[in-house]
Symmetry: C4
Subunit: 354 residues, 4 copies
C-alpha cells in the first residue's frame, strides 16, 4: 500500500475541484485582440503547416499541454491519456509538480508513465521554485530523469503559496537558485507562472538568470485563488474559514495573459502563452502577438478523464480552429502567422490587475 | 423533371434558414458613426435627389439589392420580385451565385427571370472566386450572358468555404484568376465579400488586379458562420456535429462593415457598403463615409417572399428614411451627403475582429 | 363656440402625450460633465445670488421656463400657472408656438394670459421658422404683441416637420427670413431648436444672421420623434402606420444638449441650454459650460397641470439644488459659477448623434 | 440623568443608520488602479514590515481607524472597542466630532474613554470647521485635551451641512479660522473631508494655511447624502420630505477617493486616504498612490458593535490581505510599497463628480 502524503492528496483535491467547479476567473484579454480577415488568402487550408520549432524540438502545432498532474496513484491515468495525445499529435507536454514523487519515490510511476506513453514527444518536468531553492539541482535533475524529460519547468506560484494553509511564505533566494540551476543544468529551464502572469521587469530578471524560455501563466484561466478558496471552504478546520475570504479577495489578482505576453516578449526568450487560452483562434492570436507555443491545461482535463476519444476530439477541434484561422489570415505556416497584422484594443492597454 | 444538384438544394437551405432563423451576428458599426443635425437645412425634402452614378449607370438611389438567390426552381419567384422592385425604383440588383445554373443549364431561368422583369435596371451577375479560378472566363461570360448583366460580381467567401462540409479549402490562384478576368472581360468586375469584410491591404490588391468596384460585405449583418452552423445542426450526418461548434467559434470573425468601408475607400475604387445596413440612416452614413452604394440582402428577403406590396413598402420606407436623413443634414443630393461632416466614435477605431 | 383648427387640436395631443407617456429619449450628456467639489467653499449658502442678466433683463435665476403651450382653450390654464410662477420667481418664460392663434385670433387669449399673470416677467413669444418665412415679420410682430413679449423665439423643428403627417418639408428660404427679421425687428430674436440640437456651423450662421441669442434645444430630453410616433400610433388613418416606424427610426437623432452647448458657445451669442435639463445640478453644469440660462419644459408640465403648489414646490426644489451646487463649488454668484472648473469625460467628446 | 442634546441624539441616528442601511455610494476608484504582480518577489511574507511613520508617530500599519463616534452615552462602548483595537494593533484612531461634549461636558466620557483604553496609541481629536470658526482655538484645545490627543482633525462636511435640516449653511471665515488654529496650536492639525473629497486647489490652500496633514475623505464609501436622505425619510416633519429628494440628488456628488488622492498628494503634505477603502489590497493601492495611511470607518462599525473578537478578526483579515499584497508586489516594507509600479486606468483619469 502506498502511503499518500499531504502533497499527494492535495494534488487529488485540485484535480477534483478543477473537473467539477467553476475555477476560471477574469479575462485573459484575447477578446481585445483582433486578427485581420484576408478575403483572398491565396493559400490551401489542406496544406497549412502548423509545425513550430521550440527549444530545438519540432512540434506538430503550437498547442502545448500545460502542466497539470501526477503525484497521486489516481492521476496516473490522466497523465497516460495526455501523454498518448502528445505522442499522437506530436505536441509538447508538461507534467504537474513532481514534489510528491520527489518526497516519496513510490509515486514516481505516476509521472514516469508519460515517457512510456510518449517515447518521442517533448516532455517537460516540473518543480516549484521553492522546492528548487530548498533542495537544489539534485531535485531538479531527479525530476527530469523521472520522466526522461526534454526540459524542466520551474513554476512560480506565490499567490497560491500565500493563500494556502500549507503554503511556503518565504520567497527569498529563489532568484539565485534559478540562476545557479540555469548555469549548471544539462537541460533547458522554462520559468512559468501558474495564473498570475509575468511582468516585463520580472521577465528581464528571468532572462538575466539564464532561463531558456518563459511561460506567461497569466490571469484569465484557471485561478488558484478560486481553487484554494473552494478547498478551504470544504475544510472542517476552523482556521481555514479565513482562507476562503482571503482567496476570494485575490480572485482577480494577476496580470492577464495577453498583457503578460506583451510584457514578456520583448525580453527576447522563446515564450509559451498560457492562461485562459480556450480556442484555436486564441492560439493564433497568441502566436501573432509573439508567442511560440500556446498552452492549455483546464480545457484538456475533463476530456482526459473521459478517455482517449474525447481528448482526441478536443485536440482535433482546436487544431481545426487554428487551421481555419491561419487560412483566413492567409498564413500558410506559423512563421507567416507570426507576421500577421494584429490590433490590440484599448482595454488591454494597461495591466488589468485588480 | 429538373434534377436538383447539391449546389441547388443547398441554396434552398440558405433561403429557408435566412427567412426563419436568427442569422445576424455582431455589430456592423453604424451606431458608432454620427451624422450632424443641421437645424436650418435650407433644402426641400420633396425635391431631394437621391440619384447616384455608379459604373456609368444612373441609379434612383444608393440602395443596392445585394446578391441573394437563384439556382433552384423555388427561388425564381424571389428573383422575380426583387427584379420588379429594381425596375420600379431604378435600383441596382445582384443575383445570387450562378454556379448551380452553370453546372445545370436547366436552372438558367431561375436567374434569367431578373432581366425579363427588369429590362432597364442595372443587374449584376455573380460567381464565386473559386469557380472563376476553376472554370475561367468562360463561366464568367456565361454568367453575365445568362442575365444580360451590366456587371459581374465575383464573391469571396472563404469563411463559408472553410466551415462548410462541401467547402473548397484551396484559395490559391484566385488572385491571378481575378486579374486575368479583369483584363479580358468586356464588363466591369465587382469584387465582393459576403460577410467577413475586406481589409485595406486586400482592397489594394483587388484594385491592383484591375477590378471596377469593391463591395465590403462586412461583418455585422448576415453571418455565414451562423447559417452553416444551423445547417450542420440540422444534418443527421455524424461528421457534421463538429461543424456546428466550428461555425459557432467563428460567429464573430470578420471586419465590421464600417471598419471595412474606412479601410477600402482609400484604395480609390467605387465602393458598395454591404453587411448589416438596416435603415436609411445607415445608408446615409455609408455614403457619408465614402460609399457610392449601400447594399442590403437579408432585410429584403422576407418582404420579397411576402410579395410585391410588402417589398415595395419596405423599400419605400428605407428611401423615406434616407430622404429624411439627407434633409436633416442639409444634403439636397448625394454629392452633398458625401461631403457632410461625420464623426466616428472610439469603438470603431480598431478593427473589431474577435 | 370657438372653432378648433387642426394646429390647435394637435397642440392638445402633444400636451396629453407629454403628460402621460414616456417621451424622453437619449442622454443629454450632463452625467459626463463633472463639477469640482470645493471642501472649503468660503461662501454663505443663504446669501448666494442666483441672479443673472440676459438680453438686458435681470432674472432671479438661470432657470428658464421653456416654450410649451397655448393655442387651444384647454391650454390657457397651463400658461396661466407657468406665468404666475415666472412672475413669482422672476424667471424668464416662453410660450408655445403661436401659430394657432395667428391663424385664428379667437385663440389669442390662450397666449395673452401670460402677460396678465406675469406683468413684469421676461416673456418670449414663439413662432416656427417656416411660419416666419411664409408670413414674414407681420406674424412675428403680431406674436410678440399678443403677449407684449420681451423677445421672440423662432423655433427650428425640421425633424418634427419631416416625420409629421402635416409637416412642412421645405426648409428653403428660412435663413433669409431669419436674417431679415433680425434686421427689422424691434425686439431681440432668439433662435431655438426643439430637441435635435444646434451644431457649431449652424450657430455661426445664426449669429451671422443677427440673432440675439441661441437656445440649444438639444437631444436627451423631450423627443418629438417619440411624440409623433405615439401620435401616429394612435391614429386610425392607414398612411400613419408608416409614420410610427419613421418616428422610431429617428428616436436617437440629434446632437445631445451638452455637445450642442459646447459647439454653440464659441459662436459668441448668449445661450440658453435646453433639452433634458432635469436638476439644479444640471443647471449649474450648463452655466459652468457657458450657458446663460438653462431651460426646462417637460419637468414643469405635470406640476403646472396639478396646480400652483405643485409647480412652486418643483421650482423651489430645483433652485435649492442649484444653490447647494453653487455653495459646494464655492460660487457665491452666477459669474463665479461660470468660472468654475468643469471636467468633460470622454463619451461626450464626439457628437453622439446616432 | 444626562440631558441628551440634539447634536447628541443625531449622532445616535447616524450610528444606527450606518449599521443597518445601505449608506455607501459610488465608486472610490480602487478598481481602476492596478498593482503589478511580481512573480519572483524575493521577500519573506512572514517578515514583512507594515510599520509606517506619520506625524512623528510609528504605526503598526497604515490602517487608520477613521473618525466615527462619541457624544452619546450609548456610543461609549463603540469608542472603547475601537480604542482597544487601536492599542492592540498599534493603529492610529480618530474619534467622532466632539461638538456634543463641547456643548455638554457630561458627555466628555464618551470620548475620553479612548485614551483610557489606548494609553499609547496615536489618537486624533475631532471638531467641525464651523465649530472651530465659531468657538475658536478654545474648543479645539478642549477637544484635544478631552482625549489627551496626539493631533486634531478638523472636518469639512459642507455637503452634509447643506442638506441637513439643522445644517450650518455659512462657510465663510473657515479658511481664516483654520489658518490661525494651525499657527497657534501646540498639536498637529489634520484637515479631513467626510465623503466628498478634496480637490488639488483646495489641498494647496490647506497646505498654505499650515495644516500638518490632509485626509481625502473621498466619495465612494459612506455617503452623508445617503445618510441624511434616510434620516429625513424617517422624520415625521413635513418640511423634511423635501430633504429626502435633496439628499438623493447629491448621492453621487463629490470627488472619488482615488482621484482626490491623486489631486492631494502633490500638495506635499502627509496624506490619509479615506472613503471606500475596503480591503488590504485597497490599502496597498492607496499607499502606492502616495498615501501615508489608509482610513476606514464603516467597515469597522458593525464589528465594533459585535465586540472585541469580531473587530480583531476584521482587522487581522485586513492586515493579512495587506501583507499578501505587499508580498506579491515584492515589497518587504511600506517604503518599497510606495515605490511600486501602479497603473491607473482611463476611467479615473477625470474627476468623476456627477
Ligand atoms: C488541475 C491543474 C493542476 C495544475 N498543476 C500545476 C502544477 O503542478 N505545476 C504547474 O506548473 N502548473 C500547474 N497548473 C497550471 C497550468 O499549467 C496552467 O499554467 C494554468 O492552469 C493556466 O492554464 P489554463 O487556464 O489553460 O488552465 C495546473 C493547472 C490545473 C488546471
Ligand atoms: C439568403 C442569402 C443568400 C446569399 N447568397 C449570396 C450569393 O449567392 N452570392 C453572394 O455574393 N452573396 C450572397 N449573399 C450575401 C449578400 O449579398 C450580402 O453580402 C450579405 O448578406 C450581407 O448583407 P446583409 O447583412 O444585408 O444580408 C447572400 C445573402 C443572403 C441573406
Ligand atoms: C408639451 C411640449 C410642447 C412644446 N411646444 C413647443 C413649441 O410650441 N415651441 C417650441 O419652440 N418648443 C416647444 N417645445 C420644446 C421645448 O421648448 C424644449 O425645447 C424641449 O422640450 C426640450 O426641453 P425638455 O427636455 O426640458 O422638455 C415643447 C415641449 C413640450 C414638452
Ligand atoms: C457612523 C459614522 C460617523 C462618522 N462621524 C464622523 C465625525 O463625527 N467626524 C468626522 O470627521 N468624520 C466622521 N465620519 C466620516 C469618516 O471619518 C470617514 O471619513 C468616512 O466615513 C469615509 O470612510 P468609510 O467609507 O470607510 O466609511 C463618520 C463616518 C461614519 C460611518
Amino acid at each position: 500500500m502506498t502511503i499518500i502524503h499531504q502533497t499527494s492528496s492535495r494534488k487529488l483535491d485540485h484535480i477534483r475541484i478543477c473537473s467539477q467547479d467553476e475555477v476560471e476567473q477574469g479575462d485573459p484579454g484575447f477578446q481585445g485582440v483582433s486578427l485581420i480577415h484576408n478575403a483572398l488568402p491565396e493559400c490551401d487550408m489542406g496544406k497549412i503547416d502548423t509545425g513550430v520549432r521550440f527549444l530545438g524540438h519540432l512540434f506538430g502545432s503550437p498547442l502545448f499541454i500545460a502542466a497539470m498532474t501526477g503525484g497521486h496513484p489516481e492521476t496516473t491515468v490522466i497523465n497516460e491519456q495526455l501523454a498518448r495525445a502528445a505522442e499522437r499529435f506530436n505536441l509538447g507536454m508538461g507534467v504537474g509538480s513532481q514534489r510528491a514523487a520527489l518526497e516519496n519515490p513510490d509515486l514516481e510511476g505516476t509521472f514516469g508513465v508519460v515517457r512510456e506513453m510518449a517515447p518521442s514527444a517533448f516532455l517537460c518536468a516540473n518543480i516549484g521554485v521553492v522546492q528548487l531553492r530548498d533542495h537544489g539541482i539534485e531535485w531538479a535533475d531527479r525530476a527530469v530523469e523521472m520522466i526522461r524529460g526534454d526540459a524542466l519547468a520551474v513554476h512560480l506560484n506565490f499567490l497560491q503559496e500565500a493563500i494556502q494553509p500549507e503554503g511556503d511564505h518565504d520567497a527569498r533566494g529563489c532568484m539565485a537558485a534559478l540562476a545557479s540551476l540555469c548555469e549548471e543544468a544539462s537541460y533547458p529551464v522554462i520559468v512559468k507562472e501558474t495564473g498570475s502572469g509575468i511582468a516585463g521587469e520580472t521577465a528581464r530578471r528571468i532572462a538575466g538568470a539564464g532561463a531558456a524560455a518563459i511561460d506567461t501563466g497569466g490571469r484569465g484561466g484557471t485561478s488558484w485563488a478560486a481553487i484554494e478558496a473552494i478547498r478551504a471552504d470544504e475544510s472542517s478546520r476552523d482556521q481555514d474559514r479565513h482562507l476562503v475570504s482571503l482567496g476570494e479577495e485575490f480572485l482577480s489578482w494577476g496580470i492577464p495573459t495577453v498583457t503578460s505576453l506583451c510584457e514578456v516578449v520583448p525580453a527576447g526568450l522563446p515564450v509559451i502563452a498560457t492562461g485562459g487560452v480556450r480556442t484555436g483562434i486564441d492560439m493564433a492570436k497568441a502566436v501573432a502577438l509573439g508567442a511560440d507555443l500556446a498552452g492549455m491545461a483546464l480545457p484538456l482535463l475533463n476530456p482526459a478523464l473521459k478517455g482517449e476519444e474525447s481528448l482526441s476530439n478536443t485536440i482535433e477541434r482546436l487544431l481545426h480552429q487554428l487551421k481555419v484561422t491561419m487560412f483566413l489570415t492567409g498564413s500558410p505556416d506559423i512563421a507567416a502567422l507570426k507576421r500577421t497584422r494584429v490590433i490590440i484594443s484599448g482595454t488591454n492597454g494597461a495591466l488589468g490587475v485588480h
